[in-house]
């Protein structure tokens, strides 16, 4: 029983991390129709920004609570700044050219990941966490690291925040309307370019935050942290339904649990089950679990 609980909670924490990465992807695709392959790099930079911040505040193997709290601000800010720079500097000129968008975001993603190797060397580095975060709590006999609970809590807060943002704010209305008919949003006097930058930055902030929690989950960072997890985040977005935040949350839970249980019981089937689920959804319900009909 305790093993089951441990795997389930670890799976939910993994799902939470996938969701933090996928939510930004889904938001950006929903409004802008951009498949952002640089998103993984924003995740990586969020992780490195958090690692650097904690290291500056509390040098040593064990991070302080103050450093971790400061990293909670810095990681999303770094992700948002990078995303805004990419949108304003590169993507804004390419909205009519989807293939160019893919190439540019792919290139930016590779370049940013490579830059982390150049600045901080390519080898993995342990991620310092406050003692209380690295400690474990016992749940029905299972000793579960506390960072799993924090990660799950953060994802729930982000999900609630995004649903509130989309349903209750004017920008949320713009995002939902823009996903349907971007030109008509402009024809109502709304500056779509500015909305794009805000949404792209928000997506980047979520990726940066995901990077911090991803680093805590894995206990280490390396330049490929984002690109490896981006693949699963894309699968989550497709299974959940492009542009659906609720769909991404549901799909992340399914993928996270399937991967953890698959890996535990077979040692090899975790990733295979994920790909199998993707294939089944694409065949049976191509618009995803909660995706809109087109």
């Amino acid at each position: 029983m305790s093993t089951f609980i441990l795997i389930a909670l670890t799976g939910l924490a993994l799902a939470a991390m996938y969701f933090l990465l996928a939510a930004g992807l889904s938001l950006i695709f929903g409004l802008m129709d951009v498949l952002n392959f640089a998103h993984g790099a924003f995740f990586t930079w969020g992780a490195y920004a958090a690692w650097w911040t904690i290291g500056q505040v509390s040098p040593g193997a064990r991070g302080s609570t103050g450093g971790f709290l400061l990293a909670l601000l810095v990681a999303p800010l770094v992700g948002a700044a990078l995303a805004a720079a990419v949108e304003v500097g590169l993507l804004r000129r390419l909205y009519a050219r989807p293939i160019y968008q893919v190439l540019v975001t792919l290139g930016v993603g590779l370049a940013l990941s490579q830059l982390t190797s150049v600045i901080w060397r390519p080898d993995a580095r342990p991620f310092p966490q406050p003692a209380w975060l690295a400690a474990t709590s016992t749940v029905l006999g299972a000793r579960v690291p506390n960072n799993r609970f924090l990660l799950i809590g953060a994802a729930v807060v982000v999900l609630a925040g995004m649903l509130l943002f989309l349903r209750k704010t004017r920008y949320g209305l713009v995002v939902r309307a823009g996903a349907e008919n971007r030109e008509m949003v402009q024809a109502l006097g709304i500056d779509v370019d500015r909305a794009f930058t805000v949404v792209f930055a928000l997506g980047g902030a979520l990726a940066g935050l995901g990077g911090l929690f991803g680093a805590a989950y894995f206990g280490a960072i390396d330049p490929h942290l984002g690109s490896v997890n981006l693949i699963f985040a894309f699968i989550v977005v497709v299974i959940g339904g492009l542009g659906s935040i609720g769909g991404s949350a549901l799909a992340a839970v399914i993928i996270g649990l399937a991967q953890q249980f698959g890996n535990y019981y077979t040692t090899w089937a975790g990733d295979f089950v994920v790909v199998l689920l993707l294939a089944v959804v694409l065949l049976v319900r191509p618009r995803g679990l909660l995706g809109a009909k087109h």
Partner: protein, 250 residues
């Protein structure tokens, strides 16, 4: 009367034009759609753009709004050149737009469609005005716009343009695809606001055009070939046969 440039018309005697198009050329891809469109819209009046399908009426409206930017020529709103301005800036100068296919946001409720359209600072009483004009929308405020009938969606589209105090309303074929009884409702609603704002209307339904229009301009093959009072065009069957053909609906 035939005119290919902004010349004397009924609008000219009603004061300085609120909108002036001068030799506007617009391309869609490689196609040269507008080939020198010129006309004016006088304040407080309803100007109807008439023409066959594909003549360039909708492209004219889209060029005015910056959605299909003019390659050459000049478009002035209240005397200010807006030819190169981005669409949202043109709209914020006080232009309301009702597109040809209504383009309501189907996933949003009626209330959300109106809230999105309402510019910051717009007077709150405009919502009451819209609900007075279209009581059905008040009753269906929480309903998804995508689940409304075509006529109700048209009301949402018009209401979105009326929710702000605009200098100019640009309305593209409001009768398109609607049942006759709904066309009557829409005509009555537009007649109710006539005189309170300036309207540029594209309409193939001659009965609606006649009921609402003060002035008219006929577009043929991307050029304005005739301007004059709407009543005179409505009475000229030879002109209608020549330029409007079977596309005009009575």
């Amino acid at each position: 009367m035939t005119a290919t440039a902004a010349g004397p018309s009924a609008s000219a005697v009603a004061g300085e034009p609120i909108l002036r198009l001068t030799d506007v050329h617009t391309f869609i891809g490689e196609s040269h759609i507008l080939q020198g469109v010129s006309f004016t819209v006088a304040p407080g009046r309803v100007t109807v753009l008439l023409g066959r399908n594909g003549a360039g009426k909708t492209t004219t409206l889209r060029s005015i709004l910056g959605l299909a930017p003019a390659a050459r020529g000049a478009i002035a709103l209240d005397g200010r050149d807006i030819t190169r301005e981005r669409p949202h800036r043109i709209i914020r100068r006080g232009v309301g737009y009702v597109p040809e296919d209504r383009d309501v946001f189907g996933g949003l409720t009626v209330a959300e469609n109106l809230r999105l359209a309402q510019r910051p600072g717009a007077p709150r009483e405009r919502l009451a005005l819209v609900h007075d004009l279209f009581p059905d929308l008040a009753r269906r405020a929480a309903q998804r716009a995508g689940s409304l009938s075509g006529g109700q969606q048209q009301m949402v589209a018009i209401a979105r343009a009326l929710i702000n105090e605009n200098r100019l309303l640009v309305i593209d074929e409001p009768s398109k695809g609607l049942a006759p009884v709904v066309v009557t409702q829409v005509t009555e609603a537009l007649a109710a606001i006539k005189g309170t704002t300036t309207i540029l209307l594209v309409e193939q339904n001659l009965a609606m055009a006649r009921a609402l229009g003060d002035d008219a301009a006929i577009i043929d093959d991307g050029r304005v070939v005739h301007t004059g009072p709407m009543a005179a065009i409505a009475a000229d069957e030879a002109l209608q046969a020549r330029y409007l053909g079977a596309g005009a609906r009575n």
